[in-house]
Symmetry: C2
Subunit: 329 residues, 2 copies
Amino acid sequence: MKKLINDVETVLAEGLDGFAAAHADIVLLGAERQFVRRRNTRPGKVALISGGGSGHEPLHAGFVGHGMLDAACPGQVFTSPTPDQMLAAAQSVENGAGVLFLVKNYSGDMMNFQMAAEMLDQENATVIVNDDVAVENSTYTTGRRGVAGTLIVEKIVGAAAERGDGLAALKALGDSVNKATASMGVALTSCTVPAAGKPTFQIGIDEMELGVGIHGEPGRKRVKLTSADDIAAELTGAILRDLSLKPGQEVLLLVNGFGGTPLLELYVMVHAARKVLQGAGVRVARHLTGSYVTSLEMAGCSITVSAVDAGGLALWDAPVHTAALRWGM
Amino acid sequence: MKKLINDVETVLAEGLDGFAAAHADIVLLGAERQFVRRRNTRPGKVALISGGGSGHEPLHAGFVGHGMLDAACPGQVFTSPTPDQMLAAAQSVENGAGVLFLVKNYSGDMMNFQMAAEMLDQENATVIVNDDVAVENSTYTTGRRGVAGTLIVEKIVGAAAERGDGLAALKALGDSVNKATASMGVALTSCTVPAAGKPTFQIGIDEMELGVGIHGEPGRKRVKLTSADDIAAELTGAILRDLSLKPGQEVLLLVNGFGGTPLLELYVMVHAARKVLQGAGVRVARHLTGSYVTSLEMAGCSITVSAVDAGGLALWDAPVHTAALRWGM
């Protein structure tokens, strides 16, 4: 295992300390590193809280700040945070307008966020993100997995919270964005969880895993590596079948690297995915390209398509100031 | 070779087409993909042009836009662009106030930018970036290599050009920022150039290359992989010896991933580098952390330290709107 770390026991703590120091203008680290929160919150604003296993950076802590999350709870690598973390985060950032939890659909996260929601002495609601069209049920999931589409839910709901929308409206918006968003990924290599010390899965030098999960969970099929165009056709095709978009529909296109794939290749995939979308008569209104929802150093990428109307587009374009996404301010 | 590409012959063209489509609000692609330029330029502003081999994305095309470059010329992977590309870029973006070329110190780039400068029928000057303290002379270089510090030169000089500074002042500022900036990197793995089809160099499973170049050039020594703290001490120590900073000096700290290293590890390195800098009495005024000057999918990182005064800090903080760096707008 080749990693820039001191010790597998301290990698998360040191990574969080480095993150908090580098972004001290935006975030504060909670006691015992239970959560990362915004430095400044606003009375009367619904608090948005997400979290999950670490190893997917910049998700979620990199999306804490104006226009997105109020707090994020980092679990150990690929391990759910605890209900105590979520409760502490909620108590730290709630501002009298309730708490909305944004949860990726993994059994551990679902159970722990539900416990936190029950323990919390504040009005609260939960949006479950399950954008991965690859498979129903998976290693850590009942139903569909939550993957890179989470970023889009966090951005759009975050902007609506910032303008002052109430808890019920934000919950409805989050559910609606999740429903309009679909993703599918491909892995060319495995990643290695520091505490495990060896690759999560084995894959041949000429193979790829189509429909892989962001923890290296099996996808739809293990096949020979093909061209970027073929891969984009497979991923984007599955997404389009799921979303049933009408010609002329405007979408956001997120081409997301898993951590070990060069940006040059991600832009080749953008080019390839655009051809498929154009062929379906779908118009890409906005792009986001980069490694935002990662699986440590896994090589591969996911494609996410999210149908948007003018209102959603305005929320996507609204100012955001986080470690990993920033525009308009 | 496992890559998300269609063909090694078309990877650059398709990557550029994807990039230009994804960032069409900011950039235009020149004829025959000779250069990436800003969509909008301003009469009377000095034109800043950089470029170099591809495979280091987002450098340089990702830094084209308001507050940074006017144009960037992409060569084939790890290969200098041609003088014709640079000349075409200069003719496209010059606005009556001259052209400043920002060139990383590699023999091919130096020769080709010099030829372009001689062919150009406009007032022009060149800033040579050579921030890598690892070695004197290298595989493709006489003197020191230009590496991730290039981003800092492009940002600070770009902001000064935006406020209206003239060619001579920008040339002097660029030289001064380059002199105040030092970098050193470490590789844990090699990368694979698509056209070569095999790793650039071989490295043992327990080894690292200290002082590696951004094309996989040999560094100072090949040693056993050690801890993040030890690596940060070695890299940052060499940088501090080069810069001879006084206690109390303010600096920018760039921890730059080479493409295959997870963000979590980069923040562990931020934490480690800060301890070394604090021990030397140096104050980190601003951080930038991420994979900005890459070597395709190489695992590893570089540390860059740049001494800044209040004027430099204001230029660093000035608004920028490019594909890869964006703040204040």
